[in-house]
Amino acid sequence: MPSLADIKRAGTTVRIACELQELKFRDAPYAEFVALISKAISYSVSSIVSQKNVLQNLNEDQLTAFVISPLKAMMFDIAHERNIGGKCDISIVGYSEYLWLAEAKIFSSYGKLLGGYRQLLRRYATGLPNQDRGAMLIYMYRSGKAKDRMAKWAKYLLQSEQDVTVAWESSRIEFTSSQDHSGSGLPFIANHIPVILYHVPTDTIKPPKRIG
């Protein structure tokens, strides 16, 4: 008979599935559910970025399927395009009516990102307690530093939306926005996460000729 420690040693996927059932067992608050999703999303994004060489030229739906797959194996009730006020890119339903939503966009312009953010906040989010967290996943194929692009996106968001605030994560590459939901008046908090897929290896370029 395996102990709890034995099960958690089985690997990340099983460990997170096990933590998910512990949250339900303890009737843990929504914040802990969201924190576990963040951990799982980080794992999934890292996994995708490490395979970027074989993930070139995919569309948004195909990339989102790659994001979702590990979380499904962790037994999150996660869906692509579940109907929640419209077809939300990613939704996770948990115990106690917990809900977490995400919109995913391939970066092409800040205006397109703003459209996705507004869909997330104004179309899909219910604004209800325990359903007021989510994420913007930003797939970045184009050249350019993700850190600079995220800084510009945060600035654009602040200029475009009246009552939004942003706070940077310690990594300085992700940030969190908070904006009141137009229906409930409660803040909806979204993590803005870059998925860096730019892949043009330069290590095979010939070195300069030897001088002298």
Binding site: L4, Q21, K24, F25, R26, M75, Y95
Partner: protein, 144 residues
């Protein structure tokens, strides 16, 4: 196989799992567990260890990880299985824990031995999950 004219919660849950986790062997493990609980007296589902769950799903080519994941899904999302814990000490003696005690122990990360009162700090090494099947909810009519 569940035969009934009315749609049972068991059918609804199985359908949801099949849709969401198609191609995942853990979904087939879930089906076997649900069928077992539904087709046996409730008394036979009161103490289901991972070994028991693996026996129940012996017709599915599942690894231990698949059984862990299936049990996690059925207890975290659907309340088909109720999770409980036993404390087993170094001599192998088992002490079933009250759920409220286990919740505190999981949060604190330690407990005192029920008899010797010795402080146990590597608690995850001594906690053993087991499950109880929730036959009433599976046999109830599904609210479609």
């Amino acid at each position: 196989m569940i035969r009934s004219s009315k749609v049972l919660e068991a059918d609804k849950i199985k359908r949801h799992i099949a849709e969401r986790w198609k191609d995942d062997v853990a979904a087939r493990v879930c089906n076997s567990i649900i069928d077992y609980i539904v087709s046996n007296p409730a008394s036979r589902s009161r103490y289901l260890t991972y070994s028991a769950l693996k026996r129940i799903s012996r017709n599915v080519p599942a690894e231990s990880d698949d059984v862990y994941r299936a049990a996690a899904l059925l207890s975290s999302r659907f309340s088909v299985l109720f999770l409980h814990f036993s404390f087993i000490d170094d001599s192998g003696k088992e002490y079933p824990l009250e759920d409220d005690d286990a919740k505190l122990i999981l949060l604190d990360g330690w407990m005192d031995h029920p008899e010797t009162r010795q402080r146990i700090t590597d608690i995850a090494e001594h906690l053993y999950p087991y499950y109880e099947g929730n036959k009433p909810v599976l046999m109830s009519s599904a609210g479609e």
